[in-house]
Protein backbone atom coordinates (compact mmCIF):
# COMPACT_ATOMS: atom_id res chain seq x y z
CA UNK A 1 0.00 0.00 0.00
CA UNK A 2 1.41 3.37 -0.92
CA UNK A 3 0.79 7.05 -1.64
CA UNK A 4 2.01 8.42 -4.97
CA UNK A 5 3.66 11.79 -4.46
CA UNK A 6 5.29 13.62 -7.36
CA UNK A 7 6.30 10.39 -9.08
CA UNK A 8 7.60 8.91 -5.84
CA UNK A 9 6.12 5.97 -3.99
CA UNK A 10 5.62 6.41 -0.25
CA UNK A 11 4.60 3.24 1.54
CA UNK A 12 2.05 3.16 4.30
CA UNK A 13 0.56 0.53 6.58
CA UNK A 14 -3.02 -0.73 6.52
CA UNK A 15 -4.21 2.27 8.54
CA UNK A 16 -2.41 4.84 6.41
CA UNK A 17 0.56 5.58 8.70
CA UNK A 18 3.90 5.94 6.93
CA UNK A 19 6.15 2.90 7.05
CA UNK A 20 9.29 5.06 6.93
CA UNK A 21 8.70 8.34 8.73
CA UNK A 22 11.82 9.71 7.04
CA UNK A 23 9.85 9.86 3.78
CA UNK A 24 7.55 12.59 5.07
CA UNK A 25 7.37 15.95 3.33
CA UNK A 26 4.68 18.60 3.11
CA UNK A 27 3.66 17.12 -0.24
CA UNK A 28 3.25 13.74 1.43
CA UNK A 29 1.13 15.39 4.14
CA UNK A 30 -1.16 16.87 1.49
CA UNK A 31 -1.49 13.43 -0.10
CA UNK A 32 -2.35 11.71 3.20
CA UNK A 33 -4.87 14.46 3.98
CA UNK A 34 -6.46 13.96 0.56
CA UNK A 35 -6.78 10.25 1.26
CA UNK A 36 -8.50 11.28 4.51
CA UNK A 37 -10.67 13.76 2.56
CA UNK A 38 -9.44 16.56 4.78
CA UNK A 39 -8.46 19.88 3.18
CA UNK A 40 -5.58 21.46 5.12
CA UNK A 41 -5.82 25.01 6.44
CA UNK A 42 -3.08 27.03 8.11
CA UNK A 43 -4.52 25.91 11.46
CA UNK A 44 -4.02 22.29 10.44
CA UNK A 45 -0.43 23.01 9.41
CA UNK A 46 0.22 24.65 12.77
CA UNK A 47 -0.71 21.42 14.56
CA UNK A 48 1.14 19.25 12.03
CA UNK A 49 4.34 21.21 12.44
CA UNK A 50 3.94 21.23 16.20
CA UNK A 51 3.63 17.43 16.19
CA UNK A 52 6.73 17.08 14.06
CA UNK A 53 8.71 19.31 16.41
CA UNK A 54 7.48 17.27 19.38
CA UNK A 55 8.54 14.08 17.65
CA UNK A 56 11.98 15.44 16.79
CA UNK A 57 12.51 16.44 20.38
CA UNK A 58 11.10 13.37 22.15
CA UNK A 59 10.99 10.60 19.50
CA UNK A 60 7.37 9.76 20.27
CA UNK A 61 3.95 10.89 19.14
CA UNK A 62 2.32 12.51 22.19
CA UNK A 63 -0.83 11.18 23.83
CA UNK A 64 -3.77 13.55 23.34
CA UNK A 65 -3.69 14.84 26.89
CA UNK A 66 -0.02 15.62 26.56
CA UNK A 67 -0.54 17.22 23.17
CA UNK A 68 -3.26 19.57 24.42
CA UNK A 69 -1.14 20.53 27.42
CA UNK A 70 1.88 21.27 25.24
CA UNK A 71 -0.20 23.21 22.70
CA UNK A 72 -1.74 25.30 25.47
CA UNK A 73 1.70 26.14 26.73
CA UNK A 74 2.87 27.22 23.31
CA UNK A 75 -0.22 28.73 21.67
CA UNK A 76 -2.69 29.41 24.45
CA UNK A 77 -5.85 27.71 25.63
CA UNK A 78 -7.90 28.53 22.52
CA UNK A 79 -5.73 26.11 20.55
CA UNK A 80 -4.79 23.68 23.28
CA UNK A 81 -8.06 21.90 23.82
CA UNK A 82 -9.81 18.77 22.58
CA UNK A 83 -12.71 20.59 20.96
CA UNK A 84 -10.45 22.72 18.77
CA UNK A 85 -8.37 19.71 17.76
CA UNK A 86 -11.40 17.58 16.96
CA UNK A 87 -12.85 20.38 14.83
CA UNK A 88 -9.64 20.41 12.82
CA UNK A 89 -9.19 16.65 12.77
CA UNK A 90 -12.63 15.02 13.06
CA UNK A 91 -11.17 11.53 13.44
CA UNK A 92 -9.03 12.69 16.31
CA UNK A 93 -5.67 14.34 16.76
CA UNK A 94 -3.98 10.98 17.20
CA UNK A 95 -5.62 9.10 14.39
CA UNK A 96 -5.56 11.92 11.85
CA UNK A 97 -3.09 14.63 12.84
CA UNK A 98 -0.25 12.24 13.67
CA UNK A 99 -0.93 10.28 10.51
CA UNK A 100 -0.81 13.39 8.32
CA UNK A 101 2.30 14.58 10.17
CA UNK A 102 3.95 11.29 9.22
CA UNK A 103 4.31 10.16 12.82
CA UNK A 104 3.68 6.69 14.22
CA UNK A 105 0.50 6.07 16.12
CA UNK A 106 0.76 7.63 19.58
CA UNK A 107 1.97 5.31 22.30
CA UNK A 108 -0.96 3.97 24.24
CA UNK A 109 -3.42 4.55 21.41
CA UNK A 110 -5.22 1.34 20.48
Amino acid sequence: MSYQVGGKTVEHDEEGYLVDIGQWSEDVAVMIAEAEKLPLSSEHWEVIHFLREYYTEYQIAPAIRVLTKALTKKMGEAKGNNKYLYELFPYGPAKQACKIAGLPKPTGCV
Binding site: E57, Y58, Q59, P62, A63, R65, K69, A70, T107, G108
Partner: protein
Protein backbone atom coordinates in the same frame (compact mmCIF):
# COMPACT_ATOMS: atom_id res chain seq x y z
CA UNK B 1 -2.85 17.49 35.28
CA UNK B 2 -0.31 16.00 37.61
CA UNK B 3 -0.41 12.85 39.63
CA UNK B 4 0.74 13.83 43.07
CA UNK B 5 1.32 11.42 45.87
CA UNK B 6 -1.93 11.13 47.73
CA UNK B 7 -2.13 7.99 49.78
CA UNK B 8 -4.99 8.91 52.02
CA UNK B 9 -7.79 10.42 49.91
CA UNK B 10 -7.98 8.20 46.83
CA UNK B 11 -8.05 4.53 47.73
CA UNK B 12 -8.15 3.55 44.05
CA UNK B 13 -4.80 5.15 43.25
CA UNK B 14 -2.09 2.54 43.57
CA UNK B 15 1.58 3.13 44.11
CA UNK B 16 3.48 1.69 41.15
CA UNK B 17 7.20 1.41 40.78
CA UNK B 18 8.86 0.46 37.53
CA UNK B 19 12.43 -0.69 38.06
CA UNK B 20 14.93 -0.60 35.21
CA UNK B 21 18.00 -2.78 35.72
CA UNK B 22 19.33 -3.43 32.23
CA UNK B 23 21.48 -1.48 29.78
CA UNK B 24 19.43 0.48 27.23
CA UNK B 25 20.34 -1.42 24.09
CA UNK B 26 20.87 -5.06 23.18
CA UNK B 27 17.54 -6.12 24.65
CA UNK B 28 14.05 -4.68 24.31
CA UNK B 29 13.51 -4.26 28.06
CA UNK B 30 14.35 -0.55 28.37
CA UNK B 31 12.15 0.51 25.49
CA UNK B 32 9.30 -1.77 26.55
CA UNK B 33 9.33 -0.46 30.12
CA UNK B 34 9.43 3.11 28.84
CA UNK B 35 6.35 2.50 26.69
CA UNK B 36 4.59 0.80 29.59
CA UNK B 37 5.35 3.79 31.82
CA UNK B 38 4.00 6.24 29.23
CA UNK B 39 0.82 4.21 28.93
CA UNK B 40 0.46 3.87 32.68
CA UNK B 41 0.61 7.67 32.91
CA UNK B 42 -2.84 7.76 31.29
CA UNK B 43 -4.39 5.85 34.21
CA UNK B 44 -3.78 8.43 36.92
CA UNK B 45 -1.80 6.14 39.16
CA UNK B 46 1.03 7.11 41.49
CA UNK B 47 3.93 6.17 39.24
CA UNK B 48 7.54 5.90 40.35
CA UNK B 49 10.37 5.13 37.98
CA UNK B 50 13.68 3.77 39.22
CA UNK B 51 17.00 3.12 37.53
CA UNK B 52 19.50 0.83 39.16
CA UNK B 53 22.36 -1.50 38.19
CA UNK B 54 23.08 -1.10 34.44
CA UNK B 55 19.64 0.47 34.10
CA UNK B 56 21.30 3.76 35.03
CA UNK B 57 22.83 3.78 31.54
CA UNK B 58 19.33 4.14 30.07
CA UNK B 59 19.29 7.81 31.01
CA UNK B 60 22.92 8.58 30.28
CA UNK B 61 23.52 11.60 28.07
CA UNK B 62 25.11 11.38 24.64
CA UNK B 63 23.76 8.08 23.35
CA UNK B 64 24.07 7.39 19.65
CA UNK B 65 22.09 4.23 18.95
CA UNK B 66 21.68 5.12 15.28
CA UNK B 67 24.81 3.01 14.67
CA UNK B 68 22.69 0.08 15.88
CA UNK B 69 19.89 1.26 13.60
CA UNK B 70 17.83 2.02 16.69
CA UNK B 71 16.03 5.29 17.25
CA UNK B 72 17.39 7.37 20.09
CA UNK B 73 14.66 6.74 22.64
CA UNK B 74 16.80 8.27 25.38
CA UNK B 75 15.21 11.53 24.20
CA UNK B 76 11.83 10.15 25.17
CA UNK B 77 12.71 10.13 28.88
CA UNK B 78 12.61 13.92 28.67
CA UNK B 79 8.93 13.65 27.72
CA UNK B 80 8.08 11.94 31.04
CA UNK B 81 7.65 15.26 32.81
CA UNK B 82 4.98 16.28 30.29
CA UNK B 83 3.24 12.96 30.98
CA UNK B 84 3.08 13.85 34.66
CA UNK B 85 5.75 11.36 35.72
CA UNK B 86 7.92 13.32 38.08
CA UNK B 87 9.05 10.70 40.57
CA UNK B 88 12.22 9.41 39.01
CA UNK B 89 14.89 7.76 41.14
CA UNK B 90 18.43 6.60 40.57
CA UNK B 91 20.15 4.35 43.06
CA UNK B 92 23.20 6.15 44.35
CA UNK B 93 25.44 3.08 44.59
CA UNK B 94 24.64 1.92 41.04
CA UNK B 95 25.36 5.38 39.69
CA UNK B 96 28.64 5.79 41.54
CA UNK B 97 29.87 2.29 40.73
CA UNK B 98 29.58 3.26 37.07
CA UNK B 99 31.44 6.51 37.51
CA UNK B 100 28.36 8.60 36.79
CA UNK B 101 26.82 11.65 38.45
CA UNK B 102 23.62 13.67 38.00
CA UNK B 103 25.46 15.76 35.37
CA UNK B 104 25.76 12.68 33.15
CA UNK B 105 22.01 12.06 33.16
CA UNK B 106 19.56 13.25 30.56
CA UNK B 107 16.81 14.15 33.07
CA UNK B 108 16.78 15.43 36.63
CA UNK B 109 16.36 12.57 39.09
CA UNK B 110 16.24 11.98 42.80
CA UNK B 111 19.35 10.15 43.88
CA UNK B 112 18.55 7.66 46.59
CA UNK B 113 20.67 5.24 48.60
CA UNK B 114 20.21 1.48 48.38
CA UNK B 115 18.68 1.11 51.81
CA UNK B 116 16.29 3.99 51.38
CA UNK B 117 15.26 2.64 47.98
CA UNK B 118 14.49 -0.70 49.54
CA UNK B 119 12.17 0.98 52.00
CA UNK B 120 10.52 2.95 49.20
CA UNK B 121 9.94 -0.28 47.25
CA UNK B 122 8.41 -1.79 50.34
CA UNK B 123 5.85 1.03 50.37
CA UNK B 124 4.63 0.28 46.83
CA UNK B 125 1.50 -1.65 45.90
CA UNK B 126 3.07 -2.92 42.70
CA UNK B 127 6.73 -3.23 41.73
CA UNK B 128 7.60 -4.21 38.17
CA UNK B 129 11.22 -4.95 37.43
CA UNK B 130 12.92 -5.53 34.09
Amino acid sequence: MSVESDNSAEPKVKRFMYVNRKAPHGTVYALEVLEMVLISAMFEQDVHLTFLDDGVFQIKKGQNPSVLEMKDFSKTYRALDGYGIEKVFVEKESMEERGLSQDDLIIPVEIIGREELGALMESMDVVLSA
